[in-house]
């Protein structure tokens, strides 16, 4: 007789457990299903010279970062100094994906803050962004020697993220 009256309490405790766990989650962050899959192919013109183009296949054999940015993006300004720093350390190549932007505005942005990118490619329509599951700017992808996406970071890259997630992974991938 007693036991069945404890069922509501039991269910309740399980519920509270989940709710407590829920407080530490980020409900609107969309994890990428592309991690562990080959980076989607594309051919886009570069920012500095529209006659030159780039595809991810060109970088087979090296570990590199693809950073999605735009001149109109406020958080990108936040992230920019961190990227500049990373570029100076020269540990990994950074390629920019200029997302839904105007060429002139983009060039001005890089003039003002400096250019941490080996080069940037221009995705004016955002079509390549869709293939990469981009939903907000900035986003950063870590791609390995085989052209497989190994890590995606949503939001501005911080020194902490670099230290804890990205650089160790770069080093590990570099060894192979």
């Amino acid at each position: 007789m007693r036991a069945k009256f404890l069922i509501p309490l039991g269910i309740f405790m399980v519920l509270v457990g989940f709710l407590a766990a829920g407080l530490r989650l980020k409900p609107s962050e969309v994890p990428s299903p592309l991690v562990g899959k080959p980076a989607p192919a594309f051919t886009l013109p570069t920012l500095s010279d529209p006659n030159k183009s780039f595809s991810p296949a060109d970088f087979r054999g090296r570990v590199w970062l693809l950073n999605v940015w735009a001149s109109w993006c406020v958080a990108c300004k936040e992230e920019h100094p961190v990227l500049m720093d990373l570029a100076r350390q020269n540990k990994v190549t950074i390629v920019g994906l200029d997302y839904k932007d105007q060429r002139d505005a983009a060039l001005t942005f890089l003039q003002r803050g400096g250019d941490p990118y080996r080069f940037s490619v221009v995705d004016e329509s955002g079509r390549v962004g869709i293939d990469y599951g981009v939903y907000g700017v900035p986003e950063t992808f870590l791609i390995d020697r085989e052209g497989v996406i190994r890590y995606k970071h949503i939001g501005p890259v911080t020194p902490k993220v670099l230290e804890e997630k990205i650089l160790p992974l770069v080093a590990a991938l570099g060894q192979q």
């Binding site: 969309v30 994890p31 299903p33 592309l34 955002g126 869709i130 599951g133 939903y135 907000g136």
Partner: protein, 156 residues
């Protein structure tokens, strides 16, 4: 006679003119209503990823506009609804679907309510039958039976 004819023609033209002041019928906003209809069917069951819980069909955000444009292209290319859904899930994950896919992790979600309903119904029937049985099989102890008999005899 000629004046009557002219008058009749004039009246005829005038009435045609009046009929034309019924307004011009508006054209649908969409280029292709059939494509648009399918787009709405699909997009209504998808999430706008940058909104606070809105469907892809209703959202006015930039990303939603881009994604709707993309889906229209896919529809025109002849892709089926399922193929379009797969396209979106491949890029954004299951999160983009408002109708959760039926997989091992969502089995509890889809089956749960019906299992609960059946279970609740059964539990109720069992509880009611137990009640009935308890009532029927409540037996008096022999001492109580004797007491009852004495009392009943005493009443006569």
């Amino acid at each position: 006679m000629r004046q009557v004819c002219l008058l009749l023609i004039g009246v005829a033209l005038a009435s045609v003119g009046f009929a034309q002041t019924g307004a011009r019928e508006a054209l649908p906003l969409a280029q292709d209503p059939i494509v648009e209809k399918r787009l709405n069917e699909i997009a209504e069951e998808m999430r706008c990823l940058v909104c606070q819980n809105e469907s892809l069909a209703g959202s006015r955000s930039e990303l939603a506009l881009d994604l709707r444009r993309e889906i229209r292209t896919l529809i025109r290319e002849g892709k089926s609804n399922q193929q379009i859904r797969d396209f979106m899930v491949a890029r954004y994950g299951d999160f983009v679907l408002y109708r959760p896919p039926v997989k091992s992790t969502t089995l509890f979600l889809w089956i749960g309510p019906f299992v609960l309903m059946a279970g609740g119904f059964l539990a109720l029937i069992v509880a009611l039958q137990r009640r009935k049985r308890n009532r029927l099989t409540t037996v008096l102890s022999t001492a109580d039976m004797k007491r009852a008999e004495t009392l009943l005899k005493g009443e006569k």
